[in-house]
């Protein structure tokens, strides 16, 4: 049951999408809130007395105005997107609630990877070579062109290119293509896609809370292997770029005209220290980075989200809420996404070396439902996360890397 006592001086916020962790964070915070979620959540919300408005988030349509109007009538000040699919909804709703039509256009920009890259380029942000593909021929042409540009001769191994869906979160639909033959493996229904040249850099992500157009808190998340593992804060090896990264984020804020909220961009840093922009999302990151941040710093990242969206938040509140980056962290928190390595598995068996490791916290793996493991074509979804926490970032990094060699499903 909701035990919340909220501060009437502060804003009334709407959470778009269903996330129990976000709801609990809101319930423990001092802002009045309401959950906007599909109708399957209704029974649960009723049972536990969670404030709730039913809404099925599909594509925007002519009924979209209805939810904005409903929330406005309820007195809601701002809506917060929790998932990629609700970003454009938040833009549409907030443009009504805050009477700022520009917000909708901004959200659409942040939802389309190709548009987003163009905008970044216009703002003077360095990006790799990219292009939209509508069919397989486009992909083959792009692959050839990129490799010509790199002065490769016939027979030299190609540099790979990356294919991504325009509007999906993280690694969903992400493919790496090296040869024209591999192009045939892409199902037709995946088109159109965004194609990008491969950047031989170190990929990392940033989580930045923005208030009044300024960075309130900036975290750098270090990927050990993309799609497998991440930890926060980053190693000193990556943190040494903090000043440069902060400058990049400020450029991003300016280019995308972001006044409040939260961004989650990805960058590559090449060996000579040049930053390349990958993409940016206007919602909490995957891989439970919010939970990792709470473990490392002790502040609730969802509450930070509420704070940075609420138009009634003061600068003092923001200052008091967020800790000082890196120095205030009690340790390093990381997680690893488990994929079964064998073709046929029958049970979940935590490797003893993992379970007994000093850094090991807990896992959310469940026993396998099916014995045969579907072959992974794209990056796909992991079967669950395992969590670590410890004092040494290098131990953490090597530990996460080492997990890739272990079988969790046998």
């Amino acid at each position: 049951m909701s035990e919340q006592t909220f501060n009437p001086e502060k804003g009334y916020i709407a959470l778009l999408g269903w996330s129990l962790n976000a709801i609990e964070a809101a319930d423990k915070f001092d802002r009045r809130y309401v959950v906007v979620a599909p109708d399957w959540a209704e029974a649960y919300c009723k049972e536990h007395d969670i404030p709730y408005v039913p809404w099925n988030f599909e594509r925007l349509n002519d009924r979209s105005f209805e939810i904005a109007q409903t929330l406005k009538e309820m007195g809601v000040d701002v809506s917060i997107p929790l998932f990629e699919e609700t970003v454009e909804w938040a833009g549409a709703i907030n443009s009504v609630l805050l009477d700022n039509p520009r917000l909708f256009g901004q959200a659409m920009l942040l939802r389309d990877k190709a548009l987003m890259k163009r905008r970044a380029q216009l703002g003077g942000i360095r990006v790799g070579i990219f292009e939209e593909a509508h069919d397989k021929e486009d992909v083959v042409r792009f692959l050839k062109r990129v490799n010509q540009t790199l002065l490769k001769l016939d027979g030299d191994p190609n540099d790979p290119i990356h294919l991504k869906a325009f509007d999906k979160a993280g690694c969903l639909g992400h493919r790496v293509i090296r040869t024209p033959d591999e192009v045939d493996t892409i199902p037709d229904e995946e088109f159109p896609v965004l194609m990008e040249s491969h950047l031989d850099g170190w990929e990392f992500a940033v989580e930045a809370w923005i208030h009044n157009g300024k960075i309130a808190f900036l975290n750098i998340s270090e990927y050990v292997t993309l799609g497998y593992s991440v930890f926060v804060p980053a190693t000193p090896d990556l943190e040494k770029y903090r000043a440069q990264i902060t400058a990049e984020i400020e450029k991003l804020i300016k280019t995308f005209d972001i006044d409040f909220g939260f961004v989650h961009p990805e960058y590559f840093v090449t060996s000579d220290g040049t930053m390349y922009f990958g993409e940016v999302a206007y919602r909490p990151p995957g891989f439970k980075v919010f939970e990792l941040l709470e473990r490392a710093y002790g502040f609730n990242a969802y509450q930070g989200l509420i704070l940075s969206f609420d138009p009634k938040t003061t600068a003092e509140e923001v200052k008091a809420f967020f800790p000082k980056e890196v120095v205030d962290a009690k340790g390093y928190a990381g997680c690893f996404g488990v994929y079964p390595r064998r073709r046929v598995v029958s049970k979940l068996e935590m490797p003893e070396e993992t379970e007994n490791h000093e850094y090991f916290e807990t896992h959310e793996l469940t026993p396998p439902v099916e014995e045969t493991v579907t072959k992974r074509t794209a990056f796909g979804t992991h079967w669950g996360l395992i969590y670590f926490f410890g004092e040494d970032p290098y131990v953490m990094r090597d530990l996460l890397k080492h997990q890739e060699e272990l079988d969790f499903y046998v």
Binding site: E24, K28, E47, N356, E361, T362, E364, Y394, M396
Partner: protein
């Protein structure tokens, strides 16, 4: 960059950090909103499980019992209200294969322990109430305290360490005196089945002996009945009453006169036949009199006229068996020797020469290795094997499968020891000397060496010496025979059982489960033919000639299906109360099991011979799913009364057949896996 090397070796658990994490998880749960508590529990249960697996883990959880309960670990479950908890339900919870169930049950027990000790003032349960409850829990879970592992625990794997550990921790805190009398009854109940492997019984008795001499443990009036048990191991006679040690006792033997020796001999024999346990002093005594005056051997073995006759006929062989096989470490073999002589099987022409081969057998390095691992280096492996052979031939129904899913192999060994002793000795010779057994499946040789693998991935060492050496071979052959049947329709036991156990296993085969769907099939026909083949009132009063393999659906005390299990039907007869009973052999280590719905397997006082289990015919029929019969002898389906048939059928439907009802409705489809 650092070159720290993470996680290559299995690291030692940092207990303090682990407990710190548990505390964090408790706080997270406590501070969590009721609607989000469910999401915090998996982490807490996982951490609690890991804490419980560490030394000191039980105490750590006990110390946090109050915080755990107040954080809401039990909220929304039966455990939330301890006054309604029933002690007898703890057994199935602790033996659950589900980690969370075991963990929450363990946390609940430790919470009540904190309440009983006055460390936690519980709002609804008084300290005395908690104490009383835990006493009952201990008594009901005695098998977890010292006993043998059963099927359920075998399925549990590492979780069983928590189940056992929590009961042991509670016993230490509550005090053994509260359970000791129950334990003594339990030991007698097991000993009445005369198992060959008595390691765990010895452990239990030693535990009691230790409790009795520990000045910190006040047993009060409890434990008086342990005297006979303790003395049977540590001082069965006048000259070793105070457990002086083997060397001192052997010195005393040098100076004993005839009367004293006579009295020692009868003392040993009485104790041995009373309990089925043999004291190491007994072995020293027998070796001593063998050198000086072997007339005392008959007395020391407690033989009847049959046994004495046999001993006199085969005196040299018996001497050789004692000299080569009976040492203080292998003293238990004396009981086997005595019973083997009583059975008169030495009069079967091949048995004595086969035993001579056994005495002189060269044992291959592989078999030596297994015996060394299980029993240590003294005496020689050959002596252990002789002990094992004597025990198996003397106590064919004392064979146990240990902690292995090898009920088929254990059953075969028992059947041969009972029915075909020289064949058993042949198997032992092949396995121990040649490290290979070849059996034939429908004319095709099946070698234990060339087989791909057995039912069990690894055979544990908690076995008698014969099983230890022979079972790995038999298990592989059994599995291989199963593989040869994969493309045949129906249950492979139909072909495997007669080929594996020998010609005397009936070629007729009946099963009441459809292998494809897992549903019951033709239950009535199955039962009528069973009555016609086995029930003396329906088969022309023909006693069973050869022991027959059969399969039962084992159920737990709540009558829920656990698994398929291989047994031997030995005989069907009226018990002292004129109830028709099936007497059978269960290769499980303890046959006395509660199969639920009133079906409690008896092991004594219902006309059972040592090692036999029994059930009234109807109850037995209700758990049976496979039997063999002679297709030429079986006549018409028995004209069993409708009432009786209905009672049996109801019992099937109320227990393991619950989800196997053959109907148009699709139900659970699970083909019977191989028996364990």
């Amino acid at each position: 960059m650092s070159d720290t090397d993470a996680g290559n070796a299995v690291p030692v658990v940092n207990f303090d950090k682990l407990v710190q994490r548990l505390d964090d998880a408790i706080v997270a749960l406590a501070e969590s909103r009721p609607f989000a508590k469910v999401g915090k529990l998996p982490r807490l249960f996982d951490l609690a499980r890991r804490v419980l697996l560490q030394p000191g883990g039980f105490a750590a959880i006990q110390a946090r019992a109050e915080q755990l309960e107040q954080a809401g670990v039990f909220t929304g479950t039966d455990w939330a209200e301890p006054t309604i908890l029933l002690p007898y339900l703890t057994t199935s919870a602790l033996q659950s294969p589900n980690a969370d169930t075991v963990v929450i049950e363990a946390i609940s027990e430790l919470r009540l322990l904190a309440v009983a000790n006055g460390e936690y003032l519980h709002p609804s349960m008084a300290s005395e109430q908690a104490h009383h409850y835990l006493t009952q829990v201990l008594a009901i879970n005695l098998s977890l305290l010292f006993g043998e592992q059963g099927e359920a625990e075998r399925e549990q794997g590492k979780l069983a360490l928590i189940s056992r550990g929590v009961i042991q921790h509670v016993a230490q805190e509550i005090g053994y005196e509260h359970v000791i009398d129950r334990l003594i009854d339990e030991i007698w109940r097991i000993l009445q089945q005369r198992p060959i492997q008595v390691t765990s019984v010895r452990q239990m008795i030693t535990q009691i002996a230790l409790c009795r001499i520990d000045p910190d443990i006040d047993l009060g009036g409890a434990g008086q009945g342990a005297e006979r048990l303790i003395s049977s191991l540590y001082g069965p006679t006048q000259a070793c009453r105070e457990d002086p040690g083997i060397l001192v006792y052997e010195e005393r033997l040098q100076f004993m006169d005839n009367v004293a020796l006579q009295s020692e001999a009868t003392g040993f024999a009485r104790s041995m036949h009373d309990t089925g346990l043999v004291s190491p002093y007994h072995a020293s005594f027998v070796r001593h009199v063998l050198e000086k005056q072997d007339s005392l051997l008959t007395e020391a073995l407690g033989l009847s006229s049959t046994g004495r006759d046999c001993l006199l006929c085969y005196k040299e062989l018996v001497h050789a068996l004692v000299i080569e096989g009976v040492f203080p470490e292998t003293a238990q073999g004396l009981y086997g020797l005595a019973l083997m002589l009583e059975r008169g099987i030495l009069y079967q022409p091949p048995v004595a020469p086969a035993l001579w081969r056994q005495v002189l057998l060269n044992i291959c390095p592989e078999a030596c290795e297994r015996i060394h691992l299980a029993y240590g280096h003294t005496p020689q492996p050959g002596a252990w094997l002789i002990q094992g052979v004597m025990n198996m031939l003397g106590q064919p129904l004392g064979v146990g499968q240990g902690n292995n899913p090898t009920c088929q192999s254990a059953r075969a060994l028992s059947m041969w020891a009972y029915n075909d002793p020289d064949y058993l000795l042949q198997m032992v010779a092949w396995a121990a000397r040649d490290n290979e057994i070849i059996m034939h499946f429908e004319g095709k040789p099946v070698s234990s060496v060339k087989s791909e693998g057995g039912v069990a991935s690894e055979i544990t060492l908690d076995l008698d010496p014969v099983s230890l050496v022979v079972v790995p071979h038999l298990d592989r052959i059994y599995a291989e025979m199963g593989r040869l049947c994969v493309d045949r329709p129906g249950d492979p036991h139909k072909w495997v059982n007669p080929e594996f156990h020998g010609w005397s296993a009936g070629r007729g085969f009946a099963i009441n489960v459809d292998v494809e769907s897992g549903n019951l099939q033709d239950l009535e026909g199955f039962l009528r033919h069973f009555y016609a083949s086995y029930h003396p009132y329906y088969n022309g009063n023909q006693p069973l000639i050869h022991p027959q393999p059969a399969g039962v659906a084992v159920t737990d005390s709540a009558a829920r299906f656990i698994g398929w299990h291989a047994i031997t039907i030995l005989r069907v007869a009226l018990d002292p109360e004129e109830v028709m009973r099936v007497y059978f052999f269960n290769p499980n280590n303890d046959s006395g099991q509660n199969w639920g719905d009133g079906v409690v397997v008896s092991t004594a006082r219902k006309g059972e011979r040592f090692g036999e289990a029994s059930l009234p015919f109807e109850q037995f029929a209700s758990r049976l799913y496979i039997y063999h019969s002679d297709p030429l002898e079986r006549g018409q389906p028995a004209d069993v009364g409708e009432d009786e048939l209905q009672r049996v059928t109801d019992r099937v439907y109320d227990s393991w057949g619950r989800d196997r009802v053959p109907a148009d409705i699709a139900l659970q489809a699970e083909p019977p896996p191989s028996e364990a």
